[in-house]
């Protein structure tokens, strides 16, 4: 799952190859993730895992780290 997240951060998230080396608790916005980039990552995750994030979890905090993204995907998968 982490590798899917990293690939999405690198591609639609526009972070490039750096995304492969980021610590999983690094703030992604501080690494240059933009709001457009974050939407691309979000849609990519929903598509890849066939999940829907509820509106209430789609806040800035969701993108504050790879760990948080992973946790949100896991929660959404469990609710599936």
């Amino acid at each position: 799952m982490t590798s899917v997240i990293r690939d999405l951060l690198a591609g639609p998230g526009k972070l490039g190859s750096r995304a492969q080396e980021l610590d999983t608790d690094t703030d992604l916005y501080q690494e240059g993730l933009t709001s457009y980039g974050s939407v691309g990552v979000l849609l990519g995750l929903e598509d890849a895992f066939d999940i829907e994030f509820p509106d209430a979890v789609v806040t800035r905090r969701l993108f504050s780290s790879i760990d948080n993204l992973k946790a949100a995907v896991e929660t959404a998968l469990a609710a599936h």
Binding site: Q30, L43, F53, D55, R60
Partner: protein, 386 residues
């Protein structure tokens, strides 16, 4: 507490409403014609302690609610849009500091703002970022035990007339463009070099000229929380709310002039044409809807809803900006259609010429096209907006 405060603030607003035509409105035409800072109006705002409008009471400010500040801005905008916008922008800067600082130098500075009625300008624009609030090129650099920044700002509204500047910059030379901090720079720390003129269609007295701004400062001048949070939780919503107050204030005044014109047609001539009466009705309905949306946004803001905003909250704030700016422009154009040549003239009592020129800024202050694009992108992720 609210019960105790209510009579005091309502008497303040009453006083402002009563004095504004002489203290603010009387100078508006000259401010506009000469594209000069509204010095007389600002002196009066200071005498009423209004530069401390949203400084907390324990720091010596008036601690007005957001609803009250919106009303204040609306009252001023009916007299002089420039003055209203200057106060709105100042209050936005105060909010950004007050909501994201817990103590120390910056809290002391807010005390000075209230005591000495200091005016804070915003330095978020920058050449080369395409109007994107959330990116900066200029970094904060370390120079010995001090910090340094040099930024080419595409506009600093009332830059030559401010006592201090709230500036966005990259956190450090190796930080990414969206990794920004917000820094308060005092006038005596700053070197300003004017690099562009301001001779604009409207909002002429804001003197929003281009500057290179350089400053050496202490690390205590950096607002604690990252700018990303300050923007999302405070600066963007409060900006859209207070700007909306300004534009609606302009539109209310256009409505009053159009209504008065129709009344005179009715009492002196053969009556106002049906088309004008139908337009008045349209204008009133549009203003009612836009005001309700603004009031709802203020409620959301005051309830702390933007403390951890969802993408849907961001969409709603953007919608407020879009609806109010477009409505205000339509209403002023409707007023022009009703008043005809009298409205088109700069001199007649029914003139809406300056109101129209000023209100057109509403679709540019953060371009509506940019906002629509970013709202559209956000909507791809929001499921249950309605």
């Amino acid at each position: 507490m609210a019960v105790l405060l209510e009579p005091a603030t309502s008497s303040l607003l009453d006083r402002v409403r009563e004095a504004a035509p002489a203290q603010v409105g009387a100078h508006a035409a000259a401010v506009d014609r000469e594209a000069r800072f509204p010095a007389e109006a600002l002196a009066w705002l200071r005498s009423e302690r209004l530069l401390g409008a949203n400084v907390p009471a324990e720091l010596g400010g008036l601690a007005l609610s957001v609803h009250e500040i919106v009303e204040l801005v609306q009252v001023l905008a009916a007299q002089c849009s420039t003055t209203a916008m200057v106060l709105a922008m100042h209050c936005i800067q105060v909010a950004a500091i007050a909501e994201h600082t817990t103590g120390g130098y910056l809290v002391d500075y807010l005390r000075e703002v209230a005591r000495d009625q200091l005016l804070i300008a915003s330095v978020t624009s920058e050449v080369g970022v395409g109007g994107d609030l959330r990116r900066s090129k200029a970094p904060v650099e370390t120079r010995g035990d001090r910090l340094f920044v040099s930024k080419q700002a595409s506009t600093i509204s009332y830059g030559r007339f401010a006592d201090s500047y709230l500036l966005t910059a990259r956190r450090a030379p190796d930080a990414e463009e969206p990794d920004q901090v917000l820094v308060l720079l005092r006038g005596d720390e700053v070197r300003l070099e004017r690099t562009g003129e301001w001779d604009s269609l409207g909002m002429r007295g804001t003197c929003s000229e281009a500057f290179r701004i350089e400053a050496t400062f202490a690390s205590t001048a950096i607002v604690e929380e990252p700018f990303a949070l300050i923007a999302e939780r405070t600066m963007v919503p409060i900006s859209h709310i207070l700007w909306a107050g300004c534009w609606l204030g302009i539109a209310f005044e256009a409505f009053r002039r159009a209504r008065q014109y129709c009344r005179e047609q009715t009492t002196r001539g053969g009556g106002a044409p049906d088309s004008s009466l139908a337009r008045l009705s349209d204008m009133s309905a549009k203003l009612e809807a836009a005001s309700a949306l603004l009031s709802q946004a203020v409620d959301s803001y005051e309830s702390g809803r933007y403390g951890q905003p969802t993408i849907a909250d961001g969409v709603r704030v953007n919608s407020l900006k879009l609806i109010v700016s477009e409505t205000a422009q339509q209403v002023v154009l409707d007023a022009l259609a009703i008043t005809g040549m009298a409205g088109y003239s700069e001199r007649s009592p029914f003139s809406v010429a300056r109101l129209l020129r000023d209100v057109l800024s509403s679709s540019l202050m953060i371009g509506n096209d940019r906002i629509k694009r970013s709202t559209g992108v956000s909507l791809l992720t929001v499921r249950n907006l309605f």
